[in-house]
């Protein structure tokens, strides 16, 4: 099977083992939107495809699950080609062995919980009784024993999602594909189910692909993250990589890091579109640069600090967002930045929108990386 289209030739990334997922494809939707997807997932690892709405996540799900044909490239799973861009190479969804957990659960209302979970086994030839017996252990492991005879409409969102997950893994597919598994849940259930997923994802032996727009899902559940924006994968790496070296403003925003673009001239940073210069300790990376500032590195003072770091300016509070242990303060002109401080400090400084405040950053806290 030779790759075709824009992915001709090896891309240099590591080869997935034969049982993993290998994705290299381009697909254009009737709307004109084009998705280029290119990633591998090894067996036993979870990859998160993280991106905003409209980035192409649903298109990726459709192509991998077999709900849409790719235009060029290929999708291989467990050493088997699922699609190679030709109509003859397209494997229909029922033959792909891809277990999908859908965002809206999509449980069959006319079947009870057990029959929903055993639907795949019965579809593949088991008798109803054999199917029910075969999923018994799964029903127990997913804590669904008491709900076994319920209809989907009698389940809460979290329960329904557990059933959807059990249904997807019951046939022991070659890939587990989770499409926004937590998006339809309320905040408290989401945190609970995220822990549930974290413990149960590891039980699934094959490659796992988590589609999400929520960085918390990606950072907490995935071994590796692919960031998808405008139909292209912009960055790929471990959660740690993504957090510490975000490649685009979107990623930085997701990871809670301030990312600016500008120029560096002997340690003096001129921020694009702003009348502010910052002093960085890094004088070696000259020219066009990405400037990253961790929100925790920004200190806030009610009055102009004396003997202060060189990066000091007067700004005002735009918004105050409590994030549990910390409070994220969004600062306004002259430089829109997010600063993380403790709730205690927030109260002590009396921070509400429009409060004037002095911001300082140590030169050593400003990370400068070359930008082309």
């Amino acid at each position: 099977m030779t790759p075709v289209g824009p992915f001709d030739g090896d891309t240099g990334s590591e080869r997935p083992s034969d049982a993993g997922l290998e994705v290299r494809f381009t697909v254009t939707r009737p709307s004109g939107f084009t998705l280029h997807a290119e990633f591998d997932i090894a067996v036993g690892t979870t990859m998160a495809l993280l991106g905003p709405n409209g980035a192409g996540k649903s298109t990726a799900v459709a192509a991998i699950a077999g709900l849409t044909e790719i235009d060029s490239g290929h999708i291989r799973l467990g050493g088997r080609s699922l699609d190679d861009g030709s109509s003859r190479g397209f494997v229909p969804p029922e033959d792909r062995r891809v277990g999908v957990v859908f965002q809206q659960y999509l449980l069959f209302e006319h079947l009870n919980v057990v029959d929903n979970i055993s639907f795949g086994l019965v579809s593949r030839g088991s008798s109803k009784r054999a199917g029910r017996a075969a999923v018994g252990a799964l029903v127990e492991a997913f804590d669904l024993t008491d709900l076994a005879m319920r209809k989907p409409s009698e389940l809460s969102g979290g329960q329904a999602q557990r059933v959807a997950m059990a249904r997807a893994v019951a046939t022991e597919p070659d890939l587990l594909l989770l499409d926004e598994p937590l998006a339809a849940l309320d905040v408290r259930t989401r945190a609970h189910l995220r822990r549930f997923l974290a413990s149960h994802l590891a039980d699934f032996a094959g490659p796992r692909l988590l589609i999400t727009h929520d960085p918390a899902d990606a950072f907490l559940l995935a071994d590796e993250i692919c960031v998808l924006e405008d139909g292209r994968i912009r960055q790929r790496g471990s959660p740690e990589d993504i957090r510490s070296r975000p490649a685009t403003p979107y990623v930085a925003d997701l990871a809670g890091t301030n990312l600016l673009t500008g120029t560096n001239s002997n340690g003096v940073l001129t921020v694009d579109d702003h009348h502010l210069t910052l002093q960085a300790s890094d004088t070696s990376t000259e020219g066009r640069v990405l400037i990253t500032i961790a929100p925790a590195a920004i200190a806030l003072h009610p009055e102009e600090p004396h003997g202060s770091p060189r990066n000091t300016w007067l700004t005002s509070v735009v918004a105050v967002e409590p994030l549990g242990d910390i409070t994220r303060i969004l600062l306004g002109s002259p430089l829109e930045l997010a600063a993380d401080i403790t709730p205690t400090s927030t109260a002590r400084l009396g921070l509400v929108p429009d409060t004037p405040i002095w911001a300082t950053i140590k030169a050593t806290e400003i990370v400068v990386t070359a930008n082309q």
Binding site: P93, V98, F102, F108, H110, G120, S123
Partner: protein
């Protein structure tokens, strides 16, 4: 959902709507009262116990149920093809399928005769080969009934099919279900309320069928004379019998419509589109 819908039912409606609604319902209620007023109640048992009436009742029930079942067996796949498959002549086929709903049934019966009659395009060769004649037989009645009744089932089911949330079908396919299995195990259960409604509509239309039947199958007492035909014949000679038979038709139809309306048609009970989460 249902309780909140109930609560929204108002006792107070704008009076122009109420007046027009009353006039509208009178159109249906007054003829019924007229019929009941003329009904010879004491004679009813004798009138309905005659051979001719019992034969007509038996023929009507058998042929209308047969027509409804055949409509379901052929009409559901036809509706599926119309709603899911794109092919040249799609809109022409849909128009042809629904044509019997607007065509005078007599015209339909005549068309059937030209096609399936002893000298018809298809009926001719069949008669020459086997000696089988469809018109003027019980199965002729069934064919005429199906011809006029099936469109009601097809458009009801097709509407439901195009409202089905296809993602449930995708989910079933991803679990390994073949397209036929997806249809039987997921799509059909999702459109069940509409399918039931379509079957009842088709049955009701077949029960009242007159024009196509009399043209294609004739009016042979004991063989092709259904209740509507018996009423028509009796109106000429024996008005009391005609009224009695009409009364039976009305009672049977009302019982079925009320029973199935309560069970399957309750608005908001089950939404075949979108979520199928209505609890029963």
């Amino acid at each position: 959902m249902r309780s909140s819908d109930r609560r929204r039912h108002s006792l107070w409606a704008p009076w122009p709507l109420v007046v027009l609604a009353i006039v509208g319902s009178l159109l249906f209620v007054v003829p019924l009262i007229g019929l009941l007023g003329r009904t010879p109640w004491s004679e009813l048992g004798n009138l309905l116990g005659t051979r001719v009436v019992l034969d007509a009742l038996r023929l009507s029930l058998l042929s209308s149920v047969a027509a409804a079942l055949i409509s379901a067996i052929l009409g559901v796949p036809l509706a599926w093809v119309l709603s899911r498959v794109d092919f040249p002549g799609h809109s022409i086929l849909r128009a042809m399928v629904t044509l019997p709903m607007v065509l005078p049934p007599v015209v339909g019966g005549a068309a059937l005769l030209f096609a399936l009659g002893r000298r018809g395009v298809i009926g001719g060769p069949i008669f020459d080969a086997t000696g089988f004649v469809l018109p003027f037989s019980f199965w002729g009645v069934v064919v005429a009934n199906t011809f006029v009744a099936m469109p009601f089932l097809v458009i009801t089911v097709e509407g439901a099919l195009s409202n089905v949330d296809r993602r449930f079908e995708d989910a079933a396919a991803s679990l390994g279900a073949s397209p036929l299995r997806v249809f039987r195990r997921v799509t059909l259960p999702m459109i069940r309320p509409s399918l039931n409604a379509g079957i009842v509509l088709a049955w009701a239309r077949a029960l009242g069928e007159f024009g196509a039947t009399v043209t294609f199958a004739g009016n042979l007492s004991g063989r092709t004379q259904t209740m509507p035909l018996a009423v028509f014949v009796a109106l000429e000679s024996d008005r009391d019998t005609a009224i009695a038979i009409s009364l039976v038709l009305i009672v049977v139809s009302l019982v079925v419509l009320v029973a199935f309306r309560a069970r399957w048609w309750s608005p908001g009970d089950r939404d075949p589109a979108g979520e199928i989460g209505g609890s029963t």
